[in-house]
Amino acid sequence: MNTVVKAAAAYLIVLFVIRLIGRRTASQQAPIDMVVLFLFGGLSVSAILGDDHSFTGAMSALFTVGLMHVSVSWLKLRFVWFERIVDGTPIVVYRDGDWDETNMRRLRMQQADVRTAARQQGLDDLAKVAVAIVERDGKVSVIEKS
């Protein structure tokens, strides 16, 4: 019972902490982002299982986390407000030559991230970009000028 409660609590806490520290960490694979995710995983395991090295304990935690994931996914489907809280909404950071510095600062997003996304789309000039959007998963979408 104890392991189940701790696993459920840890799932919710880790979910919201990742959300609170910003979507960059959830999507980028730079070393500073990977450090956070690896440490979150390791710390959570020791907090949930502690000295319980049994197979039963590990499986109960694993099933709890799986069921929490299903529940949160269902709530996201059911309630749009919940989906926005858990996943956020897309954010425009560049439009027709103008950077939205406020949004960039809040997202800790750099110009280089947008330039990279443009290049990955085959564009060699930001002048060809109509809008750059930071998606809910932290990736940058670039929409080309028509």
Binding site: L20, I85, T89, I91, V92, V131, I143
Partner: protein, 173 residues
């Protein structure tokens, strides 16, 4: 269950910058959450939830026969120490401390330094006798344990001829 919501067309969403009102409110929640995390980290770093520079308290009984240093707030399953400073009776070569049974059961007692010469049941407590070098006026005893309780527990200790010292410890998960 309805899974298709009446979101505006995509060009309208992009023109509006999606949902800036929600993101503005989320920004406030994000800042509140970050300050809450910072506050929790500072509280932990200070030791207000155990294991820190301000985590220890000192307490003595009325006649000064026992003084302890302990952590009022401890962490479940994490090691903690209670240091006893006991007065040795004049001319005595031993000191006997009677501790509450909870100190063994709930406190998860792991070691006592120095090791007691004898242990014996004494009513609802346990009486421990420690040999002391002749001439010493104080004996320092360390109880090390890892709490196995959550919430509060009241503990007591007393010398054979002394007042009872009571203190409480609270274990956080």
């Amino acid at each position: 269950m309805e899974v298709i919501h009446d979101d505006p067309p995509m060009p309208v969403e992009i023109a509006n910058g999606f949902y800036p009102a929600f993101e503005q409110r989320w920004r406030w929640a994000e800042m509140a959450g970050r300050f809450a995390m910072l506050g929790f980290v500072l509280i932990c770093a200070a030791g207000l939830l155990g294991h820190g520079p301000f985590s220890e308290r000192a307490l003595s009984n009325g006649d000064g026969s026992i003084s302890i240093r302990y952590e009022p707030v401890v962490r479940f399953g994490a090691p903690t120490i209670i240091k006893f400073d006991t007065k040795v009776p004049p001319g005595g070569d031993r000191v006997a401390v009677t501790i509450a049974k909870d100190l063994v059961d709930q406190f998860g007692l792991e070691s006592i330094t120095p090791r007691p010469a004898t242990w014996e049941a004494a009513g609802s407590g346990i009486r421990l006798v420690f040999p002391v070098q002749a001439g010493e006026s104080h004996a320092l005893i360390r109880f090390t344990g890892s709490p196995v309780f959550r919430g509060g527990v009241n503990l007591t200790a007393r010398l054979d001829a002394g007042e009872t010292l009571s203190w409480s410890q609270y274990a956080v998960p």
